[in-house]
Symmetry: C2
Subunit: 385 residues, 2 copies
Amino acid sequence: MTGADLPHRILLGPGPSNCHPSVLQAMSRPMIGHLDPEFLKIMDETQALLRQVMKTSNRLTLPVSGTGSAGMETCLCNLVEPGDRVLVCVNGVFGTRMADIVERLRGELHTVQAEWGTAFEPEAVARAVSEVRPKLVAIVHAETSTGVLQPIEDISRIVHEAGALLLVDAVTSLGGAPVETDKWQVDALYSGTQKCLSCPPGLAPVTFGERAVAALDARKSRVTSWYLDMAMVRKYWGSERTYHHTAPISMIFALNQALKLVVAEGLEARFARHRLNQRALVAGIEAMGLSMLVKEAYRAPMLNAVRIPEGADDRAVRAALLQEHDIEIGGGLGPLAGKIWRVGLMGESSARENVVALLSALEKILKAQGVRVRRGAAKAAEAVY
Amino acid sequence: MTGADLPHRILLGPGPSNCHPSVLQAMSRPMIGHLDPEFLKIMDETQALLRQVMKTSNRLTLPVSGTGSAGMETCLCNLVEPGDRVLVCVNGVFGTRMADIVERLRGELHTVQAEWGTAFEPEAVARAVSEVRPKLVAIVHAETSTGVLQPIEDISRIVHEAGALLLVDAVTSLGGAPVETDKWQVDALYSGTQKCLSCPPGLAPVTFGERAVAALDARKSRVTSWYLDMAMVRKYWGSERTYHHTAPISMIFALNQALKLVVAEGLEARFARHRLNQRALVAGIEAMGLSMLVKEAYRAPMLNAVRIPEGADDRAVRAALLQEHDIEIGGGLGPLAGKIWRVGLMGESSARENVVALLSALEKILKAQGVRVRRGAAKAAEAVY
């Protein structure tokens, strides 16, 4: 079970991304207790690294013991009480998922919709906020189902002028594009480990600011989920160290190492790398004669929605990429199923050689399928560097 | 970050236990997508191994993407609807936790209590069942807070004669003592990975039998938790392979390998090893003049509650074990805090050399603290082998 029995994939889907060997190696550290003083040091260090990467001084910053969706559920189930008015901005799968969770929590759900593949105009959100007067507004930063990057600052101003809290989904953006938790005055934010942090899936970093913590403290009812109840989880991650549940120790080793790599590269350098590789990919895609779903101004640098050209067989193309080239890309979800491919260039996966390998392979496969594409995609991409 | 920077602990607490190097190594396998055909094969294989170890043919058998407590919450939040009458058997921390979760789910909570450190008499449960007429009865198999192993068969008969469902917590017992899901007619059962399976914490194996699945299918309300909603999770682990959330891939590699080791050793041989090492530990403890909390007939073979002798400083003893001998044991919880030590002999940690090392170290530390203990604990233990 050394990995020799598994293919080595180039992971260019919507996540997980490829992991640096040192991150995988970190999980081989010998097991240690979840209350061992040596492990508590690693917890403290991991929280400090998370604050650096999330650009926040929030004390209540920690990795939830579940994947990104557990982070979404943690933020919502702690901030939403039955009857609370919540406005969810929906322009893709993950906004839809937040709305679903709010209903399960018996929140009073209101949504504002934008077409999948587009971002929200601040005016549209302002109108909805003034109509609904919500306690909480929830929005996705980088919609993994469409590749849209949502500007947050104007939305934040609108939400706070109305006295509401702002919850941001940064699952796909964290570590690949600026996430300015404090500067943007985001009240609560969650992420995942397997996207631009290039750590295996299994943890969901979350952070809660002062106003959000005040809302937790002011709850009238207990949180429906025992497992995700921040009132208890925060005591284990805080100075009390009260046992709640056994932390996923090896996963925290991995996250610790992944965050060290992010900080060592430097956030600005990392963001620039993501932008550069996206520019190269888009140059290649357009050189082939294909087109992008999302307008340039709103493209998330780590998730590229490529329109499937006429005549191409979505599944057959993806299967050929995987089986013949060991390259994974994602298909479309919901209304975009069969209409787009989702090409992730996240963390370790965001690399020149991956861009070139994908473009060459895609060109070859499409031609073999009889789809008319122009030559020279890889060359066009190379020209960007 | 190779582990050279961390101490190598002998983990004899209530979990995590030590992991076999091949299990830690399995997590270093290169990352792969959660819908990759090669990963789907590993999922299928892991489910088949889980069924073998859980002694069940239940189709709906899978590892939940969270630690053991997430398994508890999964079973309860899927089986309990608001207003459902639930009887929880409480004789320790984990029964208490189940009761807490039932309340959060707005179930109608009833409890039957037994003194911590004792097991339930079937008659007591029978009386409670006939009074309450519950939809669901929940009970802990091996109570990690006390070291009691609860016989399940009689309870199961009583529960089913009353037409109720039986939920069993097998977090600590699975892989260390017989867990006969089908033979005992358990309707739903959850476990954790970091106890007798000797896999890092991070997954919660669960299994649902036919009657439990019928209850899931007959729900009138949606499950409060999106993340743990079996209606969706089962479609990813079933033949549909519908994306729900990104599975914790590396953790599933680890569980797969840990289960292979369990099966290779053989369940009966593994149970015998756990019993033998417990007998040796108890012989040593009693030779020292200390005593066990739980009567012999109800001792869980993997979790030993040792009464702290008069004059011993609980925390100082545990700190000395950790710092001077690299041995972790656990303290008591709740009403047993300061009164017992919890010595886990789970999975890889259940080994002759660990029993002897602990007894020698404990004798030395207690003597240094001026506690009167008899000599020859290690020798008494060795005599058992």
